[in-house]
């Protein structure tokens, strides 16, 4: 390890997977050899072998009454309530209780129920549930990109390669992908890090996107959607107990994947607030405040950014990204840049800048030291292919020993779904001018993106006509996150029900109008403010209808509770 790396934030020594190296294996400890390891991966690869009578056996001899017996006794007493289960709320991993995933939370579950009721003929004041809760473009009628689906169909059933139904460029892409698969089949496992040639294509794509900043395919990991990558990285980064426990800075509002993962890992969530008044911008002073506050009770090591923003729809300026990078460098923070909406930028004057590009433009002082991971996925942008679970992450400046750990971590899940990898390849290696599918591809891509831009504008405009709702411009991504003012009486009633006021509001809206939104409380918001997240994805007609219904509902709700 080079000297400059010694001070790296994420060193193998601080890894959770290693500090927890007590791979508690007793009995035949001899099965875990360590001696043959080569120096580069020394001791981090495998826990030290515990002989049957090492530290663990001391515990064995030292305990007179097995605590397990105690647990059993208590359980028997509670038998009536717990029905004698092994796994109860009390015995379950307590971290799980803190996990909340609002985009799949109670509102969504209720929406599914209502749909069922409608099918069963239950009378409602509406005929269908409109799901504006999740960034699921195809579910809202967006059409897939023809070229992508052609290639994937060819890969699935290669007999079709003989057919003249498909253009030549689709066929040659399919052949190339199949050649890179074991047994020329999408059904073979791939390397855990992902198919080689896909990673190379991703690397070239990143280089093109970032104006030539080099990208090493070795730093690219294919993932099962971006979420898989995000959770994996957090797992690597989180360690420690008490005051040394890892703190992870996330924006408020945030995408609940982050809070859910942190809760599950038992990490400390460190909130920094986006500035709603300034179109959800990220303020340096707020980052500083939040960090200083966090340092009193944990060890903040990671700074997460979602750009373009989810749920807030802002697009960060180049200047802002520079500031954030300098801040991370100064404060020794590992940067996680969630850039899955990188093609979804609509507002005039806004442009997507990748963290990586800005990092390299800041010069070697930064580009050689700041640790950064950037995430991308097939689920958003113009493709909207959520179901394939394709994605990648690029990791920069990471300690080589930690990389070895990362490989180990991703290998437990064997490999990301191969069709998702194939799709990721097509996204980063789309039809080029001169190829037969180019014109159609561009037409479809442009149409989807400009339609989204239109709907972003429409949403903002209509919402802002409703008294009591204020909506920032939707500069990018797929959501509006308007501020709603709720009458005191409604807030009181919600609290009496033990609900967050905006949850109460959204639940009522669902019951009365069939519109499914996610309350702001699921993403986090400044105390005393209330929001909801609504996607801009429904087809224009439906979106208009939806917005009209929201308007009507809001007015009615306000009247009812004032």
């Amino acid at each position: 390890m080079s000297a400059s790396r010694i001070g790296q934030m994420l060193s193998s020594k601080s890894l959770r997977v290693i500090t927890r190296e007590n791979y508690r294996f007793f009995g035949n400890g001899a099965q875990y050899p360590a001696g043959h390891l080569t120096s580069g991966v020394r001791s981090v690869m495998i826990p030290s072998p515990l002989s049957p009578f090492s530290s663990q056996s001391r515990a064995l001899s030292g305990v007179s009454e097995p605590p397990r017996g105690l647990v059993q006794e208590k359980m028997t007493e509670n038998a009536v309530f717990s029905q004698n289960k092994v796994l109860t709320i009390d015995t379950m991993n307590p971290n799980v209780k803190n996990v909340e995933y609002a985009v799949r939370g109670p509102i969504v579950q209720r929406a599914v129920q209502i749909e069922k009721e409608l099918r069963e003929g239950v009378k409602k004041p509406f005929t269908e549930v409109i799901k504006a809760n999740i960034g699921d473009a195809h579910a809202m009628g967006q059409q897939p990109i023809t070229f992508f689906r052609q290639v994937l169909a060819l890969c699935s059933y290669p007999e079709l390669l003989k057919d003249n139904m498909f253009p030549e460029d689709a066929k040659s892409r399919a052949r190339r992908i199949l050649q890179a698969c074991g047994g020329s089949s999408l059904g073979a496992y791939s390397a855990s890090q992902g198919i080689d040639c896909v990673r190379q294509d991703v690397a070239r794509y990143i280089e093109r996107r970032d104006g030539g900043v080099p990208c090493d395919p070795d730093n690219v990991y294919l993932t099962s959607g971006a979420s898989d990558g995000i959770v994996t990285m957090l797992k690597l980064l989180v360690c420690g107990e008490g005051a040394s426990k890892t703190g992870v800075m996330i924006s408020i509002p945030q995408y609940p994947l982050y809070s859910a993962a942190l809760a599950e890992l038992g990490a400390v969530q460190v909130n920094y607030y986006l500035n709603e008044e300034k179109c959800w911008s990220m303020d340096l002073s707020e980052l500083e405040r939040s960090l200083a506050e966090a340092r009193k009770h944990c060890n903040p090591k990671v700074l997460c950014i979602i750009n373009p923003g989810n749920p807030t729809g802002q697009v960060q300026s180049r200047q802002c990204i520079e500031d954030v990078i300098r801040f991370a460098a100064k404060e020794h923070l590992f940067l996680m840049a969630d850039e899955v909406y990188q093609d979804n930028v609509y507002a005039e004057g806004c442009q997507f800048h990748s963290f990586k590009k800005v990092l390299f433009e800041l010069g070697p002082q930064y580009s050689n030291t700041v640790e950064l991971v950037s995430f991308h996925s097939t689920s958003k942008c113009y493709m909207g292919e959520c179901g394939f679970r394709g994605g990648y992450m690029e990791v920069i400046n990471m300690d080589p020993e930690v990389k070895a750990q990362l490989i180990k971590l991703v290998s437990v899940r064997l490999c990301p779904a191969v069709p998702g990898q194939a799709l990721m390849d097509l996204v980063v290696n789309s039809p080029q001018p001169g190829e037969p599918s180019y014109t159609t591809f561009m037409k479809e891509r442009t149409a989807t993106l400009s339609l989204l831009a239109e709907k972003a504008k429409l949403t903002e405009e209509i919402l802002n006509t409703v008294p009591g709702i204020t909506c920032n411009p939707v500069q990018g991504a797929m959501y509006s996150f308007p501020n709603i003012s709720l009458p005191q009486k409604a807030i009181k009633e919600a609290k009496a029900l033990g609900q967050a006021p905006d949850m109460f509001y959204c639940m009522k809206m669902l019951e009365e109008t069939g519109i499914c939104l996610v309350p702001g409380s699921g993403f986090g918001q400044k105390d005393g403010t209330y929001h909801f997240r609504m996607t801009i994805l429904p087809p224009t007609d439906k979106l208009k209808l939806l917005l009209a219904k929201v308007k009507e509902f809001h007015q009615k709700f306000t009247r009812q509770y004032s």
Binding site: Y157, S184, E385, A417
Partner: protein, 510 residues
């Protein structure tokens, strides 16, 4: 890297590619071992990943030269170290791939390129997807239509035992289900770590999962002399030994066995369930090889079925998670990543959190879910697609049956190797009797003896198998794992090379 392609022997890799192959990480040993191996082989170290496509078709030549000009006494490397049927040359089932293609590119439904039945299947599946697209997210447990299919499949399999679709969660491979269930079970803030009874030998990545969650492996030994049978007395001993060290809450069972090829009898399963009930253990039954049971007199009986037939109170109380997958069996669709867990008898309050924890994955890849649907509802006699389907599955079955009988027999005829009869699954786990001198030598090199043996086997014969130490084994014994879900011709070549190598090895150290 060269781009020589063949579709004949897919699990063969040119000798010059063996480094990267080793990096295909099903189990730890490839990972741990490969830096050494690469150093020894003088193989390129810059590439990591899958180079299986670079295949030389037949091992005619006796010798080849790798990228660094090192001469090897073989033409290609054959990897039978893990269960990847397609990677190993088994062909996908036509019906499965036709439906998949039509779902992905619905234009095909309108065309005349596919059989009507396939198009109908695709159509009904597409109408079960939000927005009629496989590109949409699905509910947390999976597309409800497919949840129902899977639950019907389970009921049929278990002779009518009811199964509820809400208890099925589809994930990106069954491994992911295992991980998520463990996340519920492993209490990492308790004073004692959570323990899970785990067979020795066992599938290695399960141990990695426990390690990652900070749980304790509580090993119980399978009885090799009894064909790797599971004995309740041994479970009891193991549990007793764990007391005070960890809080053992669960029992992990793989049936049919991996790597052992053992299939549990109904009687054995009954005993295990009774033990779990007495000792208040949550049963995790990994049943992904349920389709591959061909040993004489053996049949697959699911834990769920036995549990249900044991009647109340056990059938209403014993908590069970049963795992299955589209990666194994006839489909062998590992790359599509479709697996599921059925949760039985869980506390309803816990089910709520199970839903939350499965939600954090959002949903399983839709292609994997489709694979599960087609596994649950294959073509039936009378369907137009049935003849081709029957013929394809029959040829896979014939291959497996042949290998299952013949491979252990062949191995048993090699001096210094003994192999238990194989009843099911995809692997054999023969025991190696290594000369003391070889064991000493391995110690000097700093490797487990069977790991060192595997290294040499790869190095000298171009055959990649899994070392027993990776799966766990009784102290002082040594084994290797081989996948028999491999075309017969390839298997023959593997065993021929293994035998030659082994005899040579014995001579060297005696």
């Amino acid at each position: 890297m060269a781009n020589r392609h063949s579709h004949r022997h897919q699990n063969r890799v040119a000798a010059s590619q063996c480094g990267p192959t080793m990096y295909r990480l099903e189990c730890g040993w490839h990972r741990r071992w490969s830096p050494t191996a690469r150093a020894q082989c003088h193989l390129p170290t810059t590439t990591v990943g899958n180079h299986r496509c670079n295949v030389i078709s037949t091992p005619k030549a006796q010798c080849t030269v790798d990228n660094y000009g090192v001469r090897k006494p073989y033409m290609d490397v054959i990897d039978v170290s893990w269960g990847d049927p397609h990677g190993g040359g088994v062909k996908p089932l036509t019906f499965v791939r036709q439906v998949l293609a039509a779902c992905i590119y619905p234009e095909l439904v309108e065309s005349d390129k596919l059989p009507v039945e396939v198009k109908q299947r695709a159509q009904s599946l597409l109408s079960a997807c939000d927005g009629g697209s496989v590109g949409s997210y699905t509910p947390t447990g999976g597309i409800s239509y497919i949840q129902c299919s899977v639950s019907n499949f389970i009921s049929r399999r278990d002779g009518g035992v009811p199964s509820s679709p809400e208890n099925i969660f589809m994930t990106s491979g069954s491994q992911r289900s295992l991980m998520l269930v463990l996340k519920l079970l492993v209490h990492n803030q308790a004073s004692l770590p959570t323990g899970v009874l785990t067979a020795v030998p066992t599938y290695s990545s399960f141990k990695m999962m426990l390690q990652r969650l900070g749980a304790a492996v509580v090993p119980y030994y399978l009885d090799e002399e009894q064909g790797w049978a599971m004995e309740v007395e041994e479970l009891r001993r193991a549990l007793q030994a764990s007391k005070g060290v960890c809080n053992t809450v669960a029992l992990y069972v793989i049936n049919p066995g991996n790597p052992t090829g053992h299939v549990q009898s109904r009687k054995c399963i009954e005993k295990v369930i009774r033990f779990a009930a007495e000792e208040r253990l949550f049963i995790m039954a990994d049943e992904v090889y349920q389709e591959s049971v061909f040993g004489k007199g053996s049949e697959f009986v699911s834990y769920k079925k036995v549990l249900s037939e044991m009647g109340p109170p056990l059938s209403h109380t014993v908590e069970l998670a049963s795992f299955h997958s589209a990666s194994k069996g006839f489909m062998g669709e590992c790359g599509l990543r479709g697996g599921y867990v059925e949760l039985v008898n869980l506390d309803p309050a816990v089910m709520k959190y199970a839903y939350t924890i499965f939600s954090t994955d959002i949903c399983a890849p839709v292609t994997g879910q489709l694979a599960l649907e087609l596994m649950a509802n294959p073509p039936r006699p009378g369907d137009p697609s049935y003849p081709v389907y029957a013929q394809e599955t029959q040829s896979i079955r014939a291959m497996l049956v042949h290998n299952m009988n013949w491979v252990p027999e062949f191995l048993n005829n090699i001096p210094g190797i003994s192999c238990q009869p194989m009843m099911g699954g995809a692997f054999v786990f023969p025991r190696l009797y290594l000369p003391q001198a070889a064991i000493e030598k391995a110690k000097v090199v700093g490797m487990q003896p069977d790991l060192w043996y595997c290294t040499r086997l790869l190095e000298e014969a171009g055959v990649c198998v899994g070392p027993g130490c990776e799966y766990g084994q009784k102290e002082g014994t040594h084994h290797i794992r081989l996948c028999v879900m491999t075309p017969v011709e390839t298997m023959e070549e593997v065993l021929k090379r293994l035998k030659n190598f082994h005899l040579h090895f014995l001579k060297e150290f005696s």
